[in-house]
Symmetry: C2
């Protein structure tokens, strides 16, 4: 079997780094797209944060094309994103940064997927379970994630521009068990947080066609007593 080729968008973040390590341990070729280099990845594409979205995309597009040559990807796993609180009184900067951190990578992933994915490949986009409803205390975050959810549905539709039989899945965690979240929510019940290892293993299963959800699925990660259940939205 040929070596699997995967790009992790956000490959130097907490979740992204975990995924890169895991996929390397499974002998995949792994490229990372991020603001910073992930030394474990086979290749890195560095995002210029001050560029416009179209400029970021054209830059990333050229670099990914050079990296791949004639090869195609088995998967693009987009796990880029951030968090910002705030209601209508401070929505402006929050919406601006959340759009850049969550929606830009998702839109660029859609574009890259149309060019560099194999038929039957896998795309994951970073949603959020709370954004299935209104999020008055984190308005910018919620609206950006809602945009990602709708994009998952568009990408799974007819004539979406993706290669035949692509599976597009939105991943909707509630809280991921990252060092940053432990730092800022130190008194929370960690047994309800989803472990990064769980997500990495899940993505590897999906990569290999095991229990892969239907394209267009929004998969909620609901964790209780350190066990995560997948619930379709």
């Amino acid at each position: 079997m040929a070596q699997q080729r995967v790009i992790v968008y956000g490959g130097k973040g907490a979740l992204g780094s975990n995924i890169v390590s895991f996929l390397k341990s499974k002998n995949c070729w792994v490229g990372s797209i991020d603001l910073n280099v992930n030394e474990q990845a086979d290749a890195n594409v560095i995002v210029k944060p001050d560029s416009s979205m179209p400029d970021q995309e054209s830059d990333i597009n050229v670099k990914v094309g050079e990296l791949l040559g004639e090869e195609k990807l088995d998967a693009i796993l987009c796990v880029a994103g951030g968090w910002a609180g705030g209601n209508a009184k401070n929505i402006v900067n929050a919406a601006d940064s959340m759009w850049k951190q969550s929606v830009w990578p998702s839109v660029i992933t859609a574009s890259l997927s149309s060019k560099y994915l194999k038929e039957g490949g896998l795309v994951t986009l970073p949603g959020a379970q709370p954004a299935l409803k209104g999020t008055p205390g984190m308005m910018g975050y919620g609206l950006a994630k809602a945009a990602v959810h709708q994009l998952v549905q568009s990408l799974s539709g007819v004539k979406s521009g993706l290669p035949a039989n692509t599976t597009v899945v939105g991943t909707l965690p509630i809280t991921l068990d990252t060092p940053m979240n432990r730092k800022f929510m130190a008194s929370a019940d960690f047994s309800t947080w989803t472990s990064l290892e769980f997500v990495s293993e899940l993505f590897f299963k999906w990569l290999n066609g095991e229990d892969r959800p239907a394209s267009g699925s929004l998969v909620q990660f609901v964790t209780k007593d350190n066990k995560t259940e997948l619930i379709m939205a």
Copy 2:
């Protein structure tokens, strides 16, 4: 009864101009926020299209504050927006422009509403009926409108930062009967398009508390045989 004060965001577009005229005929004070001046409005705030969203907001915020002095608004009706087609192969520029044309005005409307609206006031935001599902042939448009829909739900929630008893409604047309749409879809069945007059009259009713939907409603405009039915999503 005191004169009603309304701001129309997108007040020089096809729908916005219709609303401004209608409200003026009902003796409202009407301010327009747009790229271009609406001569019929009592006051105009001109948007600088090349500024960032935070810069647009702070500029508009100051100017609206100067216009209003000690007065507050009965309503902010946001009808700004545009349309762009395209699937994953050309999502990048479409998503970028749709975000700027639909989501920026909605986010800025949220911020202005937190500062300048009366208690019990009305806010409308520009959604789109097709974006309730995936929109593979107009991906950038759909994801921007989905963000607006989720923002409507956030703004109607507890501690949203809006004045007490604000009603926030998302308006979800399918196709509005504008000169531009007639030009570009000349062979369509116009009897299924929603007239601008219908929307202006509806907004005026809502402004006066008549049949005002529950806050957080996403109101679909479904038109058949030139009659429009309102269907809650």
